[in-house]
């Protein structure tokens, strides 16, 4: 199991800085998800690791070996592309065997390993087929198979699930994680889909504007985001943000005593963040709001409320509320997160 270390990586295209002083360490066998909006530099970062782009500065180590000056073929990595990039003129068998053939692996061993990988990925029936004759999920599997057959040090996945339909995507998430754990190959997975990141990752690195905003386990990122960007980017429905202020030790508009809240410095204006599930609609709640919208998700209703001019969303409601209806709700004050409205930093972080 090989660890991956990135030290102060920088990459600019002309004047546009795409990867900005990124440092990151992956332990052997870890699955790290690079999560961020499109254009944030996550794919460029992956391409830097792969060697498809040259770094401007910084160092990359794979299994203790410095690789940033090496060509892709010498880095002992494997990559799955968004559109699979199968060789259309080769059969599935030849596609799988290609990395071995290039590495001059003997014919018999090649055959054995192709069969083993095909077996593992349920592709044994399709070995003679061409990529064009396969379904999206099967192509995805061939791409995975071609990546793992060489037993690389590092596994790079560039949005491998984004071309699949929703049902298949969920299934492949599990398959990839299971495969990754079974093989124990250190993996970097790039996605813009937070659900994918939360379900698959050992740790997530949230990237924005070429910088790492926060690195942590999915749970840390959700419950204890380092800043406003991470809080807003992770979570569906999105976190509620309410303009708040402190007046005589009271948090307006909630009227909570600030003595119980963990804020380390005085701030007259701040943004209060509250996850939708921390808002409970109940008849004895201490706050009053008007219902402005309803969304039904089968297992729950998500209700949009107008609370003193702020639009907030409550999830987990058990029934539908009429629009315009006035309701009471309570909040889990322990789940409140406070941000500096000017720079988005957490104010209450320990």
């Amino acid at each position: 199991m090989a660890e991956l270390i990135l030290k102060n990586l920088c990459k600019a295209f002309g004047d546009l800085s795409v990867v900005n002083d990124i440092s990151l360490e992956l332990t052997g066998g870890e699955l790290m998800v690079l999560l961020g909006p499109s254009g944030c530099g996550k794919t460029t970062l992956l391409r830097l690791i792969a060697g498809l782009e040259a770094t401007d500065s910084g160092e990359i180590f794979i299994a203790g070996r410095r690789v940033d000056q090496l060509r892709p073929k010498d880095r002992n990595i494997a990559m799955v592309f968004q559109n699979y990039s199968l060789y259309p003129h080769m059969t599935v068998e030849k596609n799988l065997a290609f990395p071995l053939k290039i590495a001059s692996v003997g014919k018999e061993e090649r055959q054995q390993r192709v069969e083993a990988v095909a077996e593992m990925l349920s592709l044994s029936e399709k070995l003679k087929a061409r990529p064009a004759q396969l379904s999206g999920g099967q192509r995805q599997r061939v791409a995975l198979g071609r990546a793992i057959i060489r037993q690389p040090d590092l596994f790079l996945l560039d949005e491998p699930l984004s071309n699949l339909d929703a049902d298949l995507r969920t299934r492949m998430r599990h398959e990839i994680v299971a495969l990754q754990k079974k093989l124990g190959i250190t993996t970097v997975h790039v996605t813009h889909d937070q659900a994918e990141a939360l379900t698959m990752a050992d740790r997530i690195a949230v990237i924005n504007n070429g910088r790492i905003e926060q690195v942590g386990t999915p749970e840390t990122l959700y419950k204890n985001p380092a800043n406003l960007f991470v809080a807003q980017f992770i979570g569906q429905p999105k976190i509620n943000l309410i303009d708040a202020r402190i007046e005589r030790h009271l948090l307006i508009p909630f009227g909570l005593s600030m003595l119980n809240l963990n804020i380390d410095r005085d701030k007259s204006r701040l943004l209060a963040g509250l996850r939708p599930e921390a808002i409970t609609i109940c008849s004895d709640g201490e706050f009053v709001a008007d219902v402005v919208g309803n969304e039904y998700f089968g297992s729950e209703h998500v209700v949009t409320l107008d609370f003193q001019g702020a639009t907030i969303v409550a999830s987990g409601a058990s029934k539908q509320y009429a629009i315009g209806q006035s309701i009471n709700f309570s909040i889990d004050s322990g789940a409140l997160l406070f941000f500096d409205p000017e720079n988005g930093r957490r104010l209450d972080k320990s």
């Binding site: 892709p72 990595i77 990559m79």
Partner: protein, 323 residues
């Protein structure tokens, strides 16, 4: 009862409009094209085939040209000349030489340039320059190269100016000028073929460059990550991916080469053993006034080109199907 039967029969007697359209309408649509093809392609071809069986001025069957005591193929006498005469065999040999040297030369040169220009910043300028010879007429190109290959009238006179570029270079380095266009049969034929390569490389580069650009960049990147060297990427990924286009270029060039005429006509006039089939056809028609022989050569040329043409159309369709 009879009423019902009549009702059932009625549609049989008058087929629905749409079915009657099916018999006539398609023909109406292709009629203009059909008329043009018949007048300008089918009729001349058939008439040429007819002329190839007639004598020099088409006044009698070709049998009339037979001489006592010599071989005679009856009405196919013109074909005996077109296929077995020394002059024609030499033209065939030269055409084969053109095929064997020019077609691979142009294809490999074009492919090399297509791959190389893909990697430079000033790609469009480089491509425009290489494509330029295509824009010059063959006659113009042949005249330009006539100067390049020029041989001084009196090579032993040290004061005579040397116009030919190649000979000027050779003389400058202390060599003796070479009669490029009259050293039969190897130097002059290769000199001519080189002009053909110079003209056509731009064509193959342009087509192959489009094909190279059509190969998804990610496929090449994927193969590099899979451990392939640039050599492997070229042979295992790029070439197989553009193989259909290479086939089209090869066959198109084969047809070009079989029809090659202008360069030879302008530069040597077919002298010094440089004649090819198309030149022979022209000479029979307009120099020797042997219409029958010219027609027979034309038919031989047509028969040689047809299989290549069919293959070309088929691979072009396959290429379209892949897209």
């Amino acid at each position: 009862m009879t009423e019902r039967i009549e009702k059932q029969r009625k549609p049989k007697r008058e087929a629905p409009l749409i079915m009657r359209q099916g018999e006539i309408m398609p023909w109406l649509f292709i009629l203009p094209a059909l008329i043009i093809i018949i007048i300008y392609i089918a009729y001349p071809t058939i008439y040429t085939a007819f002329l190839s069986l007639r004598n020099a001025d088409s006044s009698a069957w070709a049998t009339a040209a037979c001489r006592e005591g010599q071989a005679c193929w009856g009405i196919f006498e013109n074909y005996r000349y077109a296929i077995t005469s020394d002059t024609m065999l030499r033209a065939f040999r030269n055409n084969i030489l053109w095929l064997v040297v020019m077609v691979p030369g142009v294809t490999i040169g074009g492919l090399l340039l297509a791959v190389l220009v893909d990697r430079v910043k000033y790609e469009s300028v480089a491509k425009a320059l290489i494509f330029m010879p295509m824009a010059i007429s063959f006659v113009g190109a042949a005249i330009i190269w006539g100067f390049v290959y020029d041989y001084p009238i009196n090579p032993d006179n040290p004061n005579a100016p040397i116009i030919g570029l190649h000979n000027a270079i050779i003389v400058n380095f202390g060599g003796r000028p070479i009669p490029w266009l009259s050293s039969a049969p190897w130097i002059n034929n290769f000199a001519l073929i080189f002009v053909g390569i110079w003209i056509n490389t731009g064509f193959s580069m342009t087509i192959l460059s489009a094909a190279v650009k059509g190969v998804p960049k990610e496929l090449l990147e994927a193969s590099r990550i899979d451990g392939a060297s640039e050599w492997h990427v070229f042979w295992k990924i790029l070439i197989p991916m553009i193989l259909p286009t290479i086939t089209v270029v090869l066959t198109t060039l084969t047809i070009f080469t079989l029809k090659m005429f202008d360069v030879i006509y302008v530069m040597t006039g077919g002298n010094f053993e440089t004649n090819v089939i198309a030149n022979r056809m022209y000479q029979e028609m307009y120099v020797n006034f042997e219409a029958g022989r010219a027609a027979a050569i034309a038919i031989v040329l047509l028969i040689l080109i047809i299989p290549v043409l069919f293959y070309n159309i088929r691979s072009f369709r396959q290429q379209e199907a892949i897209r």
